[in-house]
Symmetry: C2
Subunit: 337 residues, 2 copies
């Protein structure tokens, strides 16, 4: 254990800037690794990969890996390589997701599949996943490999679960949570756990970071789903209402369907199960959800997981890194405003 | 090194039965592992996976892993787990391939994507790949992980290369070879190399098995491509002419295009580049190729790689396993008849 420095924990800041500052050096290395490892003699691979990689995602997941490794005094280079693996796994998932969801936009740009086709998106996703595993092997930590390969399988399981629940208004809040726990929270969790692993932190510290990651991931996804019924296109990088148009059953819908009248439920069935969406339906859906408190309560659920994420960090040493991770929780939730 | 038993090497047998017999016990374990690891609480996963897994592929790749591990006296259980990983990687590739190629049939059954859709095929492929890495981690050999993760990235690279070359009649024999070296031979090579790795064979023995695998894989793919212009649907598990209808540039086409008249080349451009295929065109293509010797010479090229594969085995101990591996080369090539 390091020296415990007295440090006042202010949680009122909602920014990501403290975290960004702490990991800046490491993230520069991560970006270099990403660019170099997305390279290939096969031209189309860096083209497709860089389209998405350079499209300005926040890189929150690899930042978690860098921060949690630094937090335990790690001084090697393995954390930047593992962080790049995490980002590759995320990018591969996005490429495949856009094919599965038939999405047109991603991060405010045309989705790769709209530029290079579904085929290239599937195959370049596969390449990035293969590269990620290659890079993990280079780092040589079997524990990190176990955590990340586990995440890879669980993420895909979550995506299949979501496909099975698609357009089904009978989906319960628990079903929905199982989906986002697998498809989103698993990678946040792995990203936050490989940091302490590479830094050889204790089992308790690993568990604390893992718990922080999974709950932050749940909060993040819940807010994302709320934003789809209320955020602006810029904040979201896709258009408001994409989930609605794709017939995706997210928590705002689950709550609205349960709280609504028979007439409201008929509306949801028509729009999401039958895909019969008319002009003005999205506005009607948002109005209905606002009235029922479905969006506000989705954010409330996110606050719950945010609180769990913050408490998970309690056993960890007080300091800049802990403070930054606490602020990220607020950042993820408060971006609704 | 084991005792070298005098053993006459007969290469005239073209069967796979010696290999099947030697690995039978191990393959029963592999099948059990495959069934159990393709399981998931998410119903659709085992449904899609088992559709393909139970459709009677020859399981040649995992058999190579079992045989090459046994050959060096391996007595643990890691080889069966690695063999199952190899089969999962192969199955994941097939699921994604069928989406990319828009194929309707696979191994004489409807392709999974025709039953459950492209979305499920992409995601279940991702799951199987994730599972494969999880299973490799369980085995705990970092060398095996390196070989298999390398193969995963190279296979995807090969598939993207093939996509880039699709419908391009200017593809050279070298371009084509680079594609099949990556998309097919890399997994044969990895399958044959993880056997000696888990058995802790020498570096020279590893290299011999790797070389055998890569050259066997090249021969296998060349024959597969020849069969598409001349085999029966049963032998192929897909219809003759699938490559033709999909505009795939394989070696028989590369040779025919080069050897043909201007008129012949115009025919290939119309059929493969423009996709304008009329009744009788496949028959015309086959007739042209026969006349030019394009199919026979594709098989000749396969024999070349088969010879390299056989010579690669020369430094390995004489015995049943070596004999079986030699016979597999003939089996792969002679299935054209």
């Amino acid at each position: 254990m390091g020296v415990v420095v007295p440090f006042e924990e202010k949680e009122d800041s909602a920014g990501i800037s403290r975290l960004s500052g702490l990991v800046q050096q490491g993230m520069e290395d991560v970006n270099r690794i990403i660019l170099s490892k997305a390279g290939s003699d096969v031209e189309m691979i860096p083209e497709v990969a860089n389209h998405l990689i350079s499209s300005g995602g926040k890189r929150l997941r690899p930042m978690l890996t860098i921060a949690t490794a630094q937090m335990f005094g790690y001084e090697g280079a393995g954390h930047t390589q593992l962080a790049a693996c995490v980002e590759f796994m995320h990018t591969a998932t996005l490429l495949h997701d856009d094919v599965v969801d038939e999405s047109d936009m991603r991060r405010g740009k045309l989705a790769a599949r709209k530029v290079w086709g579904n085929q290239a998106s599937v195959l370049v996703g596969d390449f990035l996943l293969g590269q990620a595993f290659r890079m993990m092997v280079e780092v040589g930590s079997m524990d990190a490999l176990a955590v990340l390969s586990d995440a890879a399988a669980v993420i895909a399981e979550g995506e299949v679960m979501q496909l099975g629940a698609a357009k089904n208004t009978e989906t319960t809040e628990d079903d929905y949570l199982a989906v986002i726990r697998a498809k989103t929270a698993a990678l946040f969790s792995a990203a936050a756990e490989v940091g302490p692993i590479i830094a050889e932190a204790s089992a308790a510290q690993r568990a604390a970071c893992r718990s922080y990651g999974v709950n932050l991931g749940l909060a993040f996804q819940l807010v994302d789903d709320a934003l789809d019924y209320g955020g602006s296109a810029e904040a979201l990088g896709k258009r408001t209402g994409d989930d609605f148009r794709e017939g995706k059953i997210t928590l705002p819908v689950v709550l609205s369907y349960r709280r609504g009248s028979d007439e409201d439920r008929a509306f949801w069935k028509r729009c999401l199960e039958e895909g019969q969406i008319e002009d003005g339906d999205l506005e009607k859906a948002i109005e209905m959800m606002r009235h029922q408190g479905a969006i506000a309560d989705t954010v409330e659920r996110a606050r719950h997981y945010g609180a769990v994420a913050r408490d998970a960090l309690a056993p960890l040493p007080v300091g800049e890194h802990k403070q930054a991770l606490l602020e990220v929780v607020n950042f993820c939730i408060e971006r609704v405003h």
